[in-house]
């Protein structure tokens, strides 16, 4: 079995062949599903933990502090210690809460983000499912997470949770529109919804650069709307701690709270990966059409590192937002979406369609 870090497709397909030769198709598919499930689960946990660490370090950097530095070198094991603490905390049962809904709400949130992560291309050939409607699928499954938040707020039987859930619902439902429309702008340019085709289409330059001004506008709108959709500051009204204690997860403790926490960070990771894939070429190295020597030099870095680097860059920008801007009020938030972002987006799609029609893009 050949392991080539530049093209993992040969590795995965030879592994698939190996399984198909030794097992019946039913068991081969079942084993593959289990392996992919475990791999994504492990990835999910590790990335979630280290995003929390990264957030604390970035926050400390923005505020001229040191940040976690006691557990391990540079506080590297801090979040692992936190996780162990959360696992050992008591799960407090709430009187007069709807127990069933209270308990399934964290799972709905986490399953929605888990389903989205399966369709993300991590590297060449490292792509669990490649639907021909890739982006649409990710939008569809991630739109279900809000149901979990709403249920959590209602089932807690607590007014702060309820207000937090309502705010969060209003926010996610309205900003989903801007996220979708800014992605549609790039779909017009790429001519496909399939993520692998979109990445391949950026062989001669990322869409952010080849799509002229409309692509840049779409990128900015996407960044704002995606930050809002993941309920992160400055749009974190749903858990505005000064007014609502902790918003929709006020009543949750222990591992159930950790699920919400993890899902929030993973949602940030997912939108950052989408931004990296759609606008910055995903795992595609930085290429400029026609510069063969330059492109060959860029190809030396394996695709998976390009992907991680771009995603980390977007995540850093989103953390920068959080620690720079003050929190918006709910009316400002809705005004921003409905009176500014949405009209800009709609005009932007028309401009992009015109650019593509005239062939002005590179």
């Amino acid at each position: 079995m050949k392991f080539d870090i530049y093209d993992l497709g040969s590795f995965t397909s030879s592994f698939d062949q190996l399984l198909m030769e030794n097992f019946s198709p039913f068991w081969a598919v079942a084993i593959e599903m289990v392996i992919i499930g475990i791999a994504i689960l492990a990835f999910y946990a590790v990335v979630g933990l280290y995003l929390v660490y990264a957030e604390r370090k970035v926050c400390a950097f923005m505020q001229c502090r040191v940040g976690p530095n006691r557990v391990g070198p540079y506080g590297f094991f801090q979040t692992i210690a936190d996780l162990i603490k959360l696992l050992m905390k008591e799960l407090i049962p709430i009187k007069n809460a709807d127990k069933l809904l209270f308990n399934i709400a964290p799972f709905i949130v986490i399953i929605a983000s888990f389903m989205a992560i399966a369709a993300i291309p991590f590297a060449k050939g490292l792509h669990a499912i490649d639907f021909n409607i890739g982006i649409f699928y990710i939008m569809a499954v991630s739109s279900m997470g809000v149901v979990g938040i709403l249920i959590a707020g209602w089932a807690s039987n607590n007014k702060y949770s309820m207000i937090g859930a309502m705010r969060s619902g209003a926010q996610i439902v309205s900003y989903e529109l801007s996220v979708g429309l800014s992605l549609v702008t790039i779909v017009v340019l790429a001519g496909s919804l399939q993520l692998s085709t979109i990445v391949e289409g950026q062989r001669d330059g990322w869409f952010l650069f080849t799509g002229h001004i409309p692509a840049v506008i779409a990128f900015l709108v996407f960044l704002v709307a995606a930050t809002a959709e993941t309920n992160r500051g400055p749009f974190d009204l749903a858990e505005a701690e000064s007014e609502l204690t902790a918003g929709f997860h006020t009543e949750y403790s222990g591992i159930k709270f950790a699920f919400f926490f993890l899902a929030e960070y993973m949602n940030m990771f997912i939108v950052a990966s989408i931004a990296a894939t759609i606008f910055l070429g995903g795992w595609m190295p930085f290429h400029v059409g026609g510069w063969e020597a330059f492109n060959n030099i860029m190809d030396y870095l394996p695709p998976v590192f390009w992907y991680i680097g771009k995603t980390a860059f977007i995540i850093f920008i989103m953390m920068w937002f959080k620690w720079t801007f003050p929190r918006l009020r709910i009316d400002q938030l809705l005004t921003l979406e409905w009176k500014y972002l949405l009209p800009i987006n709609l005009v932007n799609i028309l401009v992009m369609a015109f650019v593509v029609l005239m062939g002005w893009h590179f």
């Binding site: 021909n132 149901v147 209602w154």
Partner: protein, 170 residues
Amino acid sequence: MSIHELMFYLFSGMILLFSVLTVTSRRILRAAVYLLFVLVSTAGIYFMLNYQFLAAVQLTLYAGGIVVLIIFSILLTSHISQKFEPLGVKKMVFSALAVAAGALLSIMTILDFGFDTVVTTSQNPDMELIGTSLLSYEKNGYVLPFEVISVLLLAAMVASIVIAKKEKSK
């Protein structure tokens, strides 16, 4: 049993179970959540049939749209302690009869239809095909229903804005 059959039984079992729970649950938000599970399982069946576009539409429109709207309205109107009264025996018997008659009628119709056993190659319509046939006015084009629905939606939107608009204070 092939993996397809297994998945089919899994999804249809979930659909049946949660459909029954949706109408028998006495707490309104639980009913809404069971409805969500029914809709997601239906999307699962579409995925199994390799019709991913319809599955994603089902997820965005029903699971992410309509159920969210239903839950929103429940959150605004009802309290957690609210429970529906259990139905009387008479009502239960008659509604069970009505449901059984409806189910019987649909099953009879399906069995009577006599599906052709022609094996066609499975088609996976891509977005381009769907997009062009939506806006095509030739044979098999859908431009008229598309336009009619968009006018209807526009009218609904204008109407809701008019209703929601605040009166100007005099």
